[in-house]
Symmetry: C2
Subunit: 306 residues, 2 copies
């Protein structure tokens, strides 16, 4: 799956992942009204609005980008109907040949991680039959529990040609509280990065491992250091746009081959029409505003990469 | 909610939480057969088997224990039908007046943690109405992203009288890889523990905070140290039974008032009938085997606490 991701990045010339993290506040009134008219102001109504909103954006941007990253929390908050909308979104993106990174940040003790891995990336056995319940292409994973919480995910990725992005240095303001603490003179995130590199070494595509890392765009110096430490690790880089990072911050996350990273923007793409720069599109043109925001982001990154 | 948990621990004289982590391999053949006859070997069939299995155990043990801890991964692996069985389990346990600890180990950047917190512990707004989609009483949370990933959970707990158990030192074999690394001469888990203590200080019940910690039974020396560092923090202690810890390992996790900890056993309770000690109950008596295992565990802990 890392090969498909790289191939699509080359084809689109846009190392961009659109974060499908819908909040009801982002959704244009006509979509909300139609969903509430049909299902009422219910969890089902919210889920329907989310799905319709996503579909519009996916249709508008799917030829421009290699991948999407639905954040499952934004669906899970609406309970079972929300999770149905998540699954519908995953399936639809795959129909459109987009690589789907499930931003699930799961991670637990071994037997429990195995269940998450089966449910999200692999298959689960029921009697004599097996099923792929969520079937994302990649998943994000939390490393706090160490190797035995990661290994079941890695095993499933090998078996089913999937991939991971493991949290190394996250984009949020307080990520340094634990991640930056010095252990034997080096920050914890570097130790985690080295482990990720180690887990990935035996799980290579042709050039990059399918065991990747999450490294926040908001910390470019740390990204540079991790890039040097982990040359074969693909980085998922969140934090562009609404979280503050710009194209000029991004060069250090890439290798000299122009690969090695894919940059996420969520609000900056999906709620583009609410920004002044794209306000002219209006509510009805929200999906076209997203398309223009993707084009602008791609140009910004291409310029940064020179 | 921490007050309810403490009151129920006192009443049952059993600081025990039954981990409702069903695997199909634990489920007696008659229950599987009945579920598959009705729904086929499908995700719906698996979910029905899980739910019927759980219901039998809940009915058999609900008067003996204060709390249950369903591990959401074991449901999520069966996709949407599995998550429906999770919700049904949560609701049924609450009907039986059990405190429900959702073992979800979520944790993300602030806005995303806010969505998880709303969906699992609080309420989510849909137009003019609001809903409590999963509505567990407590949730487990991963601290790797620091304060801004935790605060939204804490805020929701305060608003809705819920609680957290934040991962500090987990019970699995490789938990030490990152958690035990020394930072300024002290292991990371102690720094995390101090943060949890800090987050909890302004969120107290009468005696203990509703911001608790996960501290694995498999590391009793570390539990002792954390107990001293965090006197007002309630500990959720996994690792008893199948993971190797015994009653004699547990005393150091409790305060002198005999409180301050609740010990989880999953397989040891729910799959008791598969152990030699309880084999006489047979498949048909699986729920009664679970009841006997709870009684034995309670006696083991009471003896350890003297």
């Amino acid at each position: 799956m890392i090969e498909k991701l790289i191939q699509k990045i080359k084809k689109t010339e846009a190392p961009i992942v659109a974060g499908l993290d819908p909040m009801l506040a982002y959704i244009p009134q006509p979509i909300l009204k139609s969903a509430f008219d049909e299902y009422g102001e219910t969890l089902e109504g919210a889920a329907q609005a989310v799905w319709q909103f996503n579909k519009g954006i996916i249709d508008a941007v799917c030829d421009l980008i290699p991948a999407v990253k639905p954040q499952i929390a934004m669906y899970e908050q609406f309970g079972i109907p929300g999770l149905e909308a998540y699954k519908r979104t995953v399936d639809y993106c795959k129909e459109k040949d987009l690589v789907v990174i499930g931003d699930i940040k799961r991670g637990d003790i071994g037997s429990t991680s195995a269940a998450y891995a089966a449910g999200h990336l692999g298959r689960v056995q029921v009697g004599s039959r097996s099923y792929a319940p969520f079937d994302e292409d990649f998943a994000t994973v939390n490393p706090y529990l160490g190797t035995d919480g990661i290994k079941p995910f890695v095993d499933v990725c090998r078996e089913y040609d999937k991939g991971l992005f493991i949290l190394v240095k996250t984009s949020n303001p307080s990520s340094g509280e634990f991640q930056d603490r010095l252990v034997d003179g080096r920050p914890l995130y570097e130790w985690v990065g080295e482990k990720v590199d180690g887990w990935g070494r035996d799980h290579m595509g042709s050039q990059y491992s399918y065991i990747g890392a999450v490294v926040g765009a908001t910390y470019p110096e740390m990204g540079k250091r991790l890039r040097a430490l982990m040359p074969r690790t693909f980085f998922l880089v969140p934090g562009y746009g609404a979280q503050g990072a710009r194209g000029s911050d991004l060069a250090s996350f890439f290798n000299e081959d122009g690969l090695g990273a894919i940059v996420n923007s969520s609000r900056g793409i999906i709620a583009a029409y609410k920004q002044e720069a794209y306000a002219a599109f209006g509510e009805d043109g929200y999906a076209q505003a997203s398309r223009k925001a993707v084009e602008d982001m791609a140009a910004d990154i291409r310029q940064a990469l020179g």
